[in-house]
Each structure stands twice: as C-alpha cells, then as structure tokens.
Amino acid sequence: MKREVLTKAGLAVLAAALIVAGGLPLLRHRRFDVPVVMGPGVARVERLSAYAPGVARTIADTNVFVLEGREPGGKAVLLANTHANEPEGLLAALVVVENAVVEKGTVYVIPTFNASGGRNTKPGDGYPLYFHLQTDWGTKTFRMGNRDASPLDQWPDPDVYIHYPDRQLLSYIDARNTNRTWPGRPNGLLMERVTYGAMELIRREAVDVAIDIHGAETMFPVTNCIVAPEKSMRIATLAALTVKAAEGFESHVEPSPVSFRGLSHREIGDHASALPFLLEAPTPFLDQPTGPKTEKLLLDGRDPFLLSLAKKKMLFVPYDESGWPLEKRVGQHLSLILEILRQFGKKNPERSIVLKDVPRYADLVRNGVGRYFHDPAAAPKGRVVME
C-alpha cells in the first residue's frame, strides 16, 4: 500500500514538473507586454472596443494609435499583426507610431490587430517565443506570435468555417484567422468581432485608404507584392512602379480574387468606400522546407535549403546568400506605405495624407530596424503604451 502511494505521488510530481516547465514559459509569453513610445504624431490612443463593444474586456481588444495632422485631409488606417508570425508588419507599424509626424490628414495605426494571435505561438513548428532587436539604447524584446488566434480565446474550432455573410466554406482553422473573417459581425466569433471593429472604424471615420501589412513564404506566388482589388489597382500599380524606379526594389501587383471571401483586400473595398491594399514581403522563416525555425532565421532570412531551392528556380523571389533580412522587409513596407499615400494624394489632393520623418527602404537597409525605436525609460511621462 505504502509503495503504491509513493509510486503514484512520484509520478504525479513528475507530471506536475512537466506541466510547470512546459507551461510557465507559454504563460509568461502570453502576459508579456511590449512598451511602445508614442511618437510626436500620436494625438491619442483609442481601443478597438470603441468601435466593436463585442471585444471589450477580452484579450482581443487592442490599441488604435491616432496620428493627427496639423491640417485636415484624408484618413488612412494601417493594420499589422493580422498574422502575428509576420513581424515585419508589426515593426513597420511601430516605426510609424514612434517616429511619424502627420502634416496633413489622420492615420490610425493598429500594430497588433490580432491581439490573441500575438500572444499565441506554434510549438509544433518550434517557433521562438520572442525576438530581439539591437537599438541605440539596448536590446528591445518583442513577442513572436502565431498566424491564428489562440484557442484559449476562441474555442472550439468548427468542422468547417462558414464565412459571414457570403457563406463560403473555408478551412476550420480560418475561423481564428483575422484575414478570413472580414467584414465580421458584432456578435459573431471573437475574430469576426475584431474585423467588425476595424470595419466600423473604417466606415465611421470615413477612412480613404486601408493598408494591411503582411509577410509571405518565398515559395508562395503571392509574395513580394501589393494585393489590390479593382478600385485600388491604379494606385497600387503606380506605387509599385515608382518604388522600383526610385528605390530599386521590386514589389509586383496581384489582383484581389473576387470569389475568395473573407480577406481584407476584398471585403474592406466591398463593404466600405476605402481603398484597400495588402502588402506582402518575402519571409523565409514562414517557408516549410527550411532548417530550424530560429530567431536568427526570422531576422536574417538566410537558409541553405531555400538557397538550394532558389538554384532550382523553385522560389517566387530572387534569393541568394544574403537571404531576405528583416530590415529589407520592413523598409519595403514603409516605402510602399508612403508611396501609396503619395499616389492617393496626387489623385485626391483635398483628401491627401502627408507623413514625414518615416524612414524609407534605403534608411532601414543602412541603419537597421532597431535604430528607429526609442528608449521607453527615457520617454516623457504618459508617452509609453504597453502593446
């Protein structure tokens, strides 16, 4: 009897140790906040729940940074971390928040659009929980998230996700993917409430331009591009041609498919007057046939297996020993954002949106991304927000 109790107690302690050792790092990651220094352009910070009460008091509620210009003009919204395992979007949005000055118009920035996904991870793929950037004042740590919201926040998954309102049948996992749940609904699944919040922001504030910032596999054809529906095509094409001529990097234009529902570049344009754009930068970390999913791969984008595939012409982007580093990806996004806004302003001068002090592609490649983040410890009181 005594032996039996001892055996059971010993095994139970081992199991408890397993749970604590495996679970605590995940819990800490879920609760880890990134301090963001509000730049000179930030007038106020709102919450998404102001537009979608259905996300209030949930982990999905997220910051909306409002950058207001000295003179009125048009309005733009930047969405990042729609997929929280594509950090070039998050970093581009945060560089805008921490540095931009708006001369004309208003810019709404949502750096962590899928806030639940930003606190989720993909242990089966061995994702790092964090990544670090060197700045002028020390190391800044960011959470590495996952493509989809955490099942802790939206559970269970359906057998098939039926898109609202078109009733198109999508993969079950896309019920937690905030780039399949557009335009959303006020009382639907949590991720549908998130996209509904952004749709309401776009409709109520009469937003002119909506830019959703992503990363994509080098083996996926829709990479290194601007995805645009018919109504945004002209501006997307002009932006792509201009950055190629003036800044020397390529980003082609992909048409947004009419019959594939739930995507931001389709539904925003169909359910509001805004012009939607989705930016994709090549992210080798996301490809399947790579070595281990390390922080180094995430940052420098160098992988010998992808290099071998590039030699066999199996990638959709040029790829060599230099990989596809983070600064290049963030730089492309920032230049494209500025160029899209410039082209929109040329066509609609009374609704133009003018940003300054935002670095461009060449600045990022030369200086790195960390240079553009400010020390939260040295920031004025009340100018730091936890993200």
Binding site: E4, T7, K8, L11, A12, L14, A15, L18, I19, G22, G23, L24, L26, L27, R30, L152, Q154, W155, P156
Partner: protein, 51 residues
C-alpha cells in the same frame, strides 16, 4: 466567453476528473498510471488557461 466555449471547458474538467478517478483507482499497472498522467497534461494546461 460564449456558451459553447464554456461547455467545452466543462467537458475538459469532466475528462480530467475521470482521469484522476482512474489514476487513484489503478492498483497494478504502472504503465496505465503514466498514460493517465500524460492524458491529463493538456487538460490541465487548458483549464489553467496556460496553453
């Protein structure tokens, strides 16, 4: 938390209870004890809302 999600948490708790019950009642097989504990790991993590 919507109603269906709440029900799934209740199902999780019931399954954990069944595993615990079997764990305490098992007298002979050490292999079964280990299996019950392994089955309990994800249930505990979900109920604690750690993962």
């Amino acid at each position: 938390m919507n109603l269906i999600m709440l029900v799934y948490y209740v199902i999780c708790a019931v399954l954990l209870g069944l595993c615990l019950w079997n764990f305490f009642r098992e007298k002979k097989s050490r292999d079964d004890l280990v299996l019950y504990l392994l089955v309990m790991v994800p249930l505990v993590l979900r109920l604690l809302r750690w993962k």
